[in-house]
């Protein structure tokens, strides 16, 4: 039966994670001066006056970077079991993983040649 063995560190980590924002917000609530007027409620933008709203249309380049990231993220997840089970799989699996990587290198080369990795 499943007893959550080996997940003590994960539970402790989750506990610390959930405590951090609560502690940070309550500590700053204790420390900060009260009052302040309408300027205190504006967005903090590194000391500069914020211009316009935060809801703007972003550049499509961010989307392209995110797509490239998704694809290589999935590749990493596919390669991780191969790397863990590498000693038991043998040479044939190595060749097959090389084919897998080679097909994705084509994708990387395509993205590179099309300039998807450049900002400019």
């Amino acid at each position: 039966m499943f007893v959550l063995s080996g997940y003590e560190y994960l539970l402790g980590f989750l506990l610390v994670c959930s405590l951090v924002p609560a502690l940070a917000l309550s500590a700053s609530k204790l420390l900060r001066p009260s009052g302040g007027g309408p300027e205190r409620r504006t967005t903090y933008e590194s000391g500069v006056e914020p211009i316009g709203g935060a809801w703007i249309q972003f550049n499509i380049r961010y989307y392209m970077f995110a797509l490239v990231f998704v694809i290589f993220d999935v590749e990493t997840v596919f390669l991780y079991p191969w790397a863990v089970a590498f000693h038991r799989l043998g040479l044939l699996a190595f060749v097959e993983a090389l084919i897998f990587i080679a097909i994705l290198v084509v994708a990387l080369v395509y993205a590179w040649r099309k300039g998807a990795l450049e900002w400019s």
Binding site: Q57, Y63, V74, V77, F78, P81, R88, F100
Partner: protein, 213 residues
């Protein structure tokens, strides 16, 4: 009921409530950014349920891909299309909810049939957590080799398609007609009241009040 089963039951209850609540929030929130963040909550809850099912690698992959990549992609897509455009009332406003209801009901019927038909017998022998990844790797390179290799081709296709779409090589340069953008906002016939309220209130944004209609 011993301690382990109690812990499992309580964890499952918490995760199920989190997941259903987040999923309802995804559907019911009028602000689409809140929906996207709550979708991350749904994914995290699903990952927790995978952990309860001893599928630790799937849980990690769920967090890594769905929360870390797919949800970020969804947020970027929202930011891309989040333009303050002037909406006009649709001529057939009943069509879209009706179609959505039909498709959702069909999906519900399909899934509930699947839940009822599937034999839910599971093996009671526990798989130790350090061998699941090795097992997945062995399956990848023996009986699931073709899907594994096809996944790379699929990723290649996704990459090429994404780059072509994002570079707009085959799209016209000017999709939005300029006269639609220059239309003054306050002369919109359908919602003059909300826009007056927004101009006086700086903190609320346009999309919030527009979708809450």
């Amino acid at each position: 009921m011993n301690l382990a089963e109690g812990v499992q039951l309580v964890s499952f209850a918490i995760l199920a409530v989190m997941m259903i609540g987040s999923a309802l929030g995804v559907v019911l929130f009028s602000n689409i950014v809140y929906s996207a963040f709550l979708l991350a909550g749904v994914f995290v809850s699903i990952s927790g349920i995978y952990l309860l099912l001893n599928a630790d690698f799937v849980a990690t992959a769920q967090i890594l891909i769905y929360v870390g990549a797919v949800n970020v992609l969804i947020l970027f897509a929202i930011m891309l299309v989040n333009k303050r455009e002037d909406f006009k009332p649709l001529p057939n406003a009943w069509v879209r909810p009706t179609m959505t209801a039909i498709v959702s009901a069909g999906l519900f019927v399909l899934l509930s049939t699947m839940v009822l038909v599937t034999p839910w017998a599971y093996s009671t022998e526990s798989v130790s957590s350090d061998t699941t990844i090795v097992l997945i790797g062995q399956h990848f390179f023996s009986d699931f080799l073709l899907p594994f290799e096809l996944a790379s081709v699929l990723l290649l296709m996704a990459m090429v398609g994404a780059i072509i779409l994002a570079r707009r090589e085959f799209l016209p340069d000017q999709v939005i007609t300029p006269d639609k953008q220059q239309q003054p906002v306050l002369t919109l016939p359908e919602r003059p009241r909300e826009l007056v309220g927004i101009s006086s209130d700086k903190t609320s944004n346009l999309d919030d009040s527009r979708r809450s209609e």
